[in-house]
């Protein structure tokens, strides 16, 4: 402790008289708005010599008050800063131990006002049944049938695809979701598709890793952007996928997207999904694609997805479809998927 000695040399008689100080006027106007988590000032108009001003605060629903002494901002104003948590803040003010605004028995309540982002997060929380993580796997077999080459040989035109991914709902808008996954896509090869003129039996890739960001600047309008790296028959390659979607993926929505997989091909699609049957989401998709090789003629696909909620965040789905590349080459497609939310 370091003492300071100060001489207060007062001239005589400037100070005098006065028998007691009348109770000073203490005025407090409660804040009109209390955003959740924001710092809120409790301001009291009171003279300098007012007894010690203390704000007694508690989160609504709690039992005990916490005392915070107000500090002097200027000649006639005192304040303290509090943070409002859900569902609100109860408080009363005391001067010299005597309540001057509200009372312990009847405190004033500031109802916390959630901001738009918090409210949106709450809605998303309800939509996802409070499950923010998802593991999703899907397999699909696409058979266009057989193509007859110039020599008269029948060449299969088919491929399969496996996707496995994990996604986490961040709800850090506009970033809604982040997804990381693996894709394997292999199809029967034709001689012309083999790199360097060597013989090969497969096209596509065995290893592709990707990251996807689920963006939604406006609630209900989504844009999923995916970057992929893969090791195709030609070596390392980069691909991508983008999907614009109106509505919720697991419920009614329309979506349009495109996926490019380097020398493996490109696909564009339009999907209509609906959740009009309880626990049974459905979707129909039309797709234009040249998978599994970018050198093949463009084909069209139509497929129908039918899911079923099994409870506990588990959903199984099946896919059936029809694929046609030319008038001669057409076939069926089918697949299945499993989604686990937790």
């Amino acid at each position: 402790m370091k003492p300071i000695v100060v001489l207060v040399a007062g001239a005589l008689a400037s100070v005098v008289v006065g028998r007691g100080v009348a109770a000073a006027a203490i005025v407090h106007v409660p804040p009109a708005d209390a955003p959740l988590g924001a710092a809120v000032e409790l301001v009291v108009d009171a003279p300098a010599e007012t007894p010690t001003l203390v704000a007694h605060v508690r989160t609504t629903g709690m039992r005990e008050f916490r005392a915070i002494e107000l500090v002097r901002r200027d000649d006639g104003r005192w304040l303290t800063v509090v943070t409002v948590a859900m569902p609100g803040l109860d408080y009363y003010l005391a001067a010299g131990g005597e309540p001057v605004f509200a009372t312990p028995a009847w405190p004033h309540t500031l109802v916390a006002r959630e901001d738009a982002e918090t409210l949106r997060r709450g809605r998303d929380d309800v939509r996802s049944a409070r499950r923010r993580s998802r593991i999703h796997t899907a397999g699909e077999y696409v058979d266009y049938g057989y193509h007859t080459d110039a020599s008269g040989a029948r060449i299969a035109d088919r491929y399969y695809r496996i996707d496995a991914d994990f996604s986490y709902r961040l709800w850090a808008y506009p970033l809604e979701e982040i997804r990381v996954g693996y894709t394997r896509l292999l199809g029967d090869a034709r001689m012309a598709e083999c790199p360097g003129g060597t013989s090969c039996s497969e096209v596509g890739f065995k290893v592709a890793g990707w990251f996807e960001l689920g963006l939604a600047a406006v609630e209900g309008v989504h844009l999923d952007a995916r970057g992929m790296v893969m090791a195709t028959a030609a070596g390392f390659a980069v691909g991508g996928r983008a999907e614009a979607r109106l509505g919720t993926l697991d419920a009614s929505h329309v979506a349009v997207g495109v996926e490019s997989l380097a020398d493996v091909g490109t696909a564009g699609y339009f999907r209509l999904g609906w959740g009009t049957v309880a626990r049974t989401p459905m979707a129909a998709t039309v797709e234009v694609t040249n998978l599994p090789s970018s050198t093949r003629p463009t084909g069209v696909r139509f497929f129908y997805d039918l899911g079923r909620e099994l409870g506990g965040g588990v959903r199984a789905s099946v896919r059936v479809g029809y694929a046609a590349r030319t008038q001669e080459v057409a076939g069926i497609a089918g697949g299945a998927g499993l989604t686990v939310d937790f």
Partner: protein
């Protein structure tokens, strides 16, 4: 006539004395106690009444009596005691009563001067008077001397029954008409007395009209103003610097009593001042302590306000809110104690196989790293130091795929080479924002390349150095992490080492369960030798049952093309404390 004039002058003198020139003897009601503060008694007598410091006043109480014969009401006075004047203004003085008398005095009591009257000249007023006289109409020395006594008597009679303002005007007219009157001093005192009575009347009216029962202080303030008292002057010294985190006790000496005082203090930058009431220590000392929590860099600011005895308002007496005193506070020089949860050790071992043939293949490597990190939090969030080795073999995938057992191309040249890279690194983690971190890792080491075919792994670490090439491997790694360090985050990064290769990576980390940290990474790399790039998909799963250590398992699947794929794995052990 001469005799008559002399007689008249004596009579007028007596009347003037009765009117106020000598209040103590003729009219005890002409002076009144107007306020009381403890032992200080305010009386409406001043220098204009011949009262100054050192004068003695007698305090009188009034008694109202009724004549039983005539039923006439009489007002008489009796003495209570004497007061000593300690200070006086023009029309107001402060007299000190002893303790016993102070308990009996009341506002409204009469007072009379018992000590001789003194003349207190105002030099400035005298100068003005002289200049006025010099500039006035010339006096004819041959003119006959007026009858001063008659003029004064006429004026006195004129004033009877008039209001003080009219009386003042009449006396001023007499002074103008008869500037050489010998009664000028007495008339001046009478005028001053009338002024005082008028002020008292106005004050009484204001008091009567006021609805406040505490309406005393404004009057006191006015009285003090009439006394010409200056505001408190301050002499003080302050601490220039202080150690952080220690309370500061301030002591004050007051030369005059104060009723209450407050010390206001805040750490510089705070929204408002914390108030501490000064506590009395002996007769003249006041003390207060600035709480240790407020004593922090760069400075603590403070000022003092005090209220005079009986006053309602406090006024700044040492500094002010707008211009507070400041005590510079030193920055802490003692390093903060080692905090829990800031130390981290990573031990990792990983085998990466791109062609699935393990040791028989020509595209695989093993990497081991050990590092220690400490989180300083600021200004650099974390510093990590580490040591690592990367040992493997690699070459063009086309050659490896074409000659999977020899790695010899069409020209008969062995295109694969073994690489040993031993390196050290330091990594700095900077927090751009709370959830955005930039990790920069420079690294350097020795790259040993074995150019001979079909040799054993690690030959260049032994004595047979034929065909071994040594070079310095300088490189680095930069990563950007978005999100919580130990929770959900996304890391994007790039690394390069000369002679070893390049790596691009993106990793997503989260904790699906509190004790299960999971990370999925995608890497693009040409390691262990700068040839063809491949893609790696990596999954890490940890089990954090204990707070200070957790193991993790790594599985990876990688490929450089459709045929060139492999599955690998690794282990890591992580310590936190």
């Amino acid at each position: 006539m001469r005799t008559s004039s002399s007689f008249a002058g004596v009579v007028v003198s007596a009347w003037l004395a009765l009117a106020g020139g000598d209040v103590a003897l003729a009219d005890p009601g002409a002076a009144t106690v107007v306020a009381i503060d403890g032992r200080d008694v305010y009386v409406d007598l001043g220098a204009r009444d011949g009262v100054g410091a050192g004068a003695t006043l007698e305090l009188l109480h009034e008694v109202v009596a009724r004549d039983p014969r005539t039923h006439a009401t009489l007002r008489d006075h009796f003495a209570l005691g004497t007061l000593a004047v300690v200070k006086a203004g023009d029309a107001i003085c402060v007299a000190r009563a002893d303790a016993e008398l102070a308990r009996r005095v009341l506002v409204g009591d009469r007072v009379r001067r018992v000590s001789p009257a003194h003349v207190y000249a105002d030099p400035w007023a005298e100068q003005v008077a002289r200049s006025t006289a010099a500039g006035g109409p010339p006096v004819d020395p041959s003119a006959p001397e007026p009858d001063h006594g008659a003029l004064a008597e006429a004026a006195w009679r004129d004033t009877l029954g008039l209001a003080p303002e009219a009386r003042i005007a009449r006396w001023q007219a007499l002074l103008a008409a008869d500037p050489r009157t010998p009664y000028a001093a007495a008339i001046g005192a009478e005028i001053a007395s009338l002024h005082g009575q008028r002020r008292d009347r106005d004050a009484a009216i204001a008091k009567a009209q006021s609805t406040r029962d505490d309406d005393r202080d404004p009057r006191i303030a006015r009285l003090a103003a009439e006394l010409g008292v200056a505001r408190w002057s301050l002499v003080g010294a302050a601490i220039a610097r202080a150690a952080p985190g220690a309370p500061l006790e301030l002591a004050f000496v007051a030369s005059q009593p104060i009723a209450r005082g407050w010390l206001y203090a805040r750490s510089r930058g705070e929204a408002g001042y914390h108030r501490v009431e000064l506590r009395r220590d002996g007769d003249a000392y006041l003390r207060a302590t600035i709480d240790a929590a407020l004593v922090r860099a760069p400075a603590v600011e403070w000022y003092v306000e005090a209220a005079a005895p009986g006053a309602r308002g406090a006024t700044p007496v040492l500094g002010s809110q707008a211009a507070p005193n400041a005590i510079a506070v030193e920055r802490p020089v003692v390093e903060a104690p080692i905090a829990a949860g800031r130390s981290h050790v990573d031990l990792s071992l990983e085998y990466v196989d791109f062609d699935g043939k393990r040791s028989a293949g020509f595209d695989h490597y093993t990497q081991a790293e050990a590092d220690f990190g400490y989180r300083f939090l600021a200004p650099i969030y974390q510093v990590r130091l580490g040591f690592g080795t990367l040992s493997g073999i690699g070459g063009p995938k086309a050659v490896i795929d074409a000659a999977p057992t020899t790695c010899i191309d069409g020209a008969g040249v062995d295109r694969c080479r073994r690489v040993d890279f031993t390196y050290v690194y330091s990594e700095l983690e900077l927090r751009v924002r709370p959830n955005v971190a930039l990790l920069v890792r420079p690294q350097a080491g020795l790259v040993a390349t074995d150019t001979r075919a079909n040799t054993d792994n690690g030959r260049c670490r032994g004595s047979d150095l034929d065909g071994c090439q040594f070079a310095t491997g300088i490189g680095g790694r930069v990563r950007l992490r978005l999100g919580d360090e130990v929770g959900t985050n996304l890391v994007i990064g790039a690394a390069f080492t000369r002679g070893v290769g390049t790596m691009l990576e993106a990793a997503y980390h989260w904790r699906p369960a509190p004790v299960v940290p999971v990370q999925i990474s995608v890497q693009v790399t040409d390691q262990p030798v700068p040839e063809d790039a491949g893609v790696r998909l990596i999954g890490d799963v940890g089990l954090r049952e204990l707070a200070w250590v957790y193991p993790s398992l790594r599985l990876s699947y990688q490929a450089r093309d459709l045929k060139h794929t492999g599955v690998s794995g690794g282990l890591a052990l992580n310590f936190d404390w």
